[in-house]
Subunit: 157 residues, 4 copies
Amino acid sequence: MLLIRATGTTPLNADDTADTARLRMIADMQPPFARLMGAKIVEATRDRVVAEVFVREELANRNGGLHGGAVMAIADNLGGTATFLNMPEDAGTTTIESKTNFFAAVPLGDTLRAECTPLHRGRTTMVWQTRITRRDGRLAAIVTQTQLIIAKDAAAP
Amino acid sequence: MLLIRATGTTPLNADDTADTARLRMIADMQPPFARLMGAKIVEATRDRVVAEVFVREELANRNGGLHGGAVMAIADNLGGTATFLNMPEDAGTTTIESKTNFFAAVPLGDTLRAECTPLHRGRTTMVWQTRITRRDGRLAAIVTQTQLIIAKDAAAP
Amino acid sequence: MLLIRATGTTPLNADDTADTARLRMIADMQPPFARLMGAKIVEATRDRVVAEVFVREELANRNGGLHGGAVMAIADNLGGTATFLNMPEDAGTTTIESKTNFFAAVPLGDTLRAECTPLHRGRTTMVWQTRITRRDGRLAAIVTQTQLIIAKDAAAP
Amino acid sequence: MLLIRATGTTPLNADDTADTARLRMIADMQPPFARLMGAKIVEATRDRVVAEVFVREELANRNGGLHGGAVMAIADNLGGTATFLNMPEDAGTTTIESKTNFFAAVPLGDTLRAECTPLHRGRTTMVWQTRITRRDGRLAAIVTQTQLIIAKDAAAP
């Protein structure tokens, strides 16, 4: 996800706890595609972003489970959001690569939990890992993605 | 994408050319999520599956471009479809891993072309690479994914 | 790494602790390439395999650090060893894919620690994640790899 | 592989053909680890870098084939070399991520060919794909890697 962090957006500290105002801000900045996925951000600090997604029929593969593409899309959005919460004002970010391993199907009607935590937070790149778990706690997939930090006025990658 | 190839589905040969009947069959078997993405299969042989997707607003990131998650989702679906066209009757397939590199943004209003071709077609796994290009011909992303072939009556991976 | 687990090799239980005899067995089965890397297995249970590697000059890149290729090679070997410790007798295993993210350089003269733990242990595939840390504790790289389990008498993938 | 391109090194044009002098320069700048792998650069232009590697016993896995780790190491080195040939003077480069899919074993005594070509050459990142083929022409593995370009005097990623 490509995001630009506007000047004057609420500063966040590493020890911030999730609060209603920030979650609303984060929710408001979610892009149209995240809404199409039905992703609901339930926690957002600099060190962890968590979303829940109800697995409705439109997200299905032909076998009555969540489409793998939806899993990757939900994670990609969290990595972008997590980078946004860590990057300097006026910087932008874009996903440059993403890798997913799938372990178990997520059935329709389930509500998955996607939890995104940092592997690396540098000045040029940040790397995030998102664990997708089913309501029964089983690990369904793991996504690792690299976000490029684009300094203000910089050219595209 | 997990797919089961039913007994008696149309056999395909490596030298088949795309024809209306087969494309309709392939289109009919697309899962709900592929329809949500708006992916239209325009060519489907054992050696190549191609889809076109109009980049409508619901697929957008916050910057007026196609969300990276949608790119991965569209490719995942093609790799599943391509494996379906190559696997034995009554076998199933599921994506076990997928890797994407992103190179350029795809603007809203564009129509992308996703072309999926084989890197490896074995009895246990098949590996597909999907190139996502913009209408102006620029390479926007490349996706490499591994599909596991699940023999009839076999257990899950 | 491709490995075949011979009939009659020492059975291992999930709660086994590292002991001298098993470590010697594991060390003996390390392939020539692992010895070329100088990898020393210091712990080997079904749930975790750990190696230490002294970063000697032959493993260097041009900048006085450990070559990224050596990082990937060391991890690949651990994932194969860990699968060996979990797979049925007479089965074989081969790496089918591997993904690495690099975070920090490892200087010459350092001794790295590579710790391999499971993300998924199924009948057909196992997925392992190896964390490479420097002596100062900093995370230098993370490697995720998929091992295919090849049943006795089965064909290649 | 991390490389710094020194001021005054021979400029290369996209249409350069491989010649003895340049190949010697490229060979001279190969790091110790590339020599340990036995990689011999046989072609090096801005658009393609090719190496050949004789599969000697020290590179073996336990099954009489080339170790997967060696495959990744050889490719990593080519991506670094290819980036070097394309980046500005005084810039540096380091591999930030690498992904490999393995398709076929490479037997001992074979001579593999590793051919590295660009997927993306930007100012901040370059992405290279290396195809590893056996002497019989069969595709053994494919490696995709991202190189970060580090501007002169810039901090680490």
